[in-house]
Symmetry: C2
Subunit: 122 residues, 2 copies
Amino acid sequence: MDALTINEAAETTGWSPRMLRYVERLGLIEPPRSAGGYRLYGPAELQRLRTLRELLETHEVGLGEIGFALRMRRDRELRSAVDAWFEAQVARPQHVPASDWLRWEQDKHSRLLAAAGATPST
Amino acid sequence: MDALTINEAAETTGWSPRMLRYVERLGLIEPPRSAGGYRLYGPAELQRLRTLRELLETHEVGLGEIGFALRMRRDRELRSAVDAWFEAQVARPQHVPASDWLRWEQDKHSRLLAAAGATPST
DNA sequence: GCAACCTTGACACGATCGTGGTAAGGTTGC
DNA sequence: GCAACCTTACCACGATCGTGTCAAGGTTGC
């Protein structure tokens, strides 16, 4: 048998058993179960646990955020809604006459530049 | 001038002024500023504020999660990392011999079915 | 059949989130 | 030049997050 139980998996991956259950509850890594209900971590799960840890550390994200990313992948509805909201940022609103629109765009442009290039000092 | 100040914008959108500043801090809606630093909400910003509210309510997401979605859009590095992690779920790990692999796949299959189809009763 | 391990569930606790308020001071428009 | 509004910065506070521990009971492997 090359599948580990939760404590063994915890030891080799650096997560705590508690966290492994939490990660599972978020839907991120759901190991198969033995007939009696024990979680069984195979090489694939162990690898994913390690890369998950790396992902979190490298990019300063939380489990909850990866959980949200998962939700976005599973819930196409949600994904489109979020995407649409962001896309609308560049869509030109109907009610603004062209002259004003130019002003908005210019403002937005500097804002975008600032947001993209600035070192957030706060 | 068809731009509103923060309190006016708050009134017409249903957000509190406090929240408008918060939404801005998350990078979601950053209105241009007057020479003196006042936030100026134009039709575009007002519209986005309304649709944002709708997005949150419809899909039971939080501002922080939309903030994370924004981060994913701005930080290509992060986006690829997260995407890569999810893609790896279906990539076959090198070390598992084909016979075992089949077992893993079967297990995973039922897990996926369960995760996708189940009404989460808890 | 027993020791060692696993399961779920509960309570706990600091940290962060979402939201509000208030204070000290600058801006705007008449 | 003043009233009304805006700005940032801070304190607050309940809710959720991330994480731990413990209890009661089921599994596993020898």
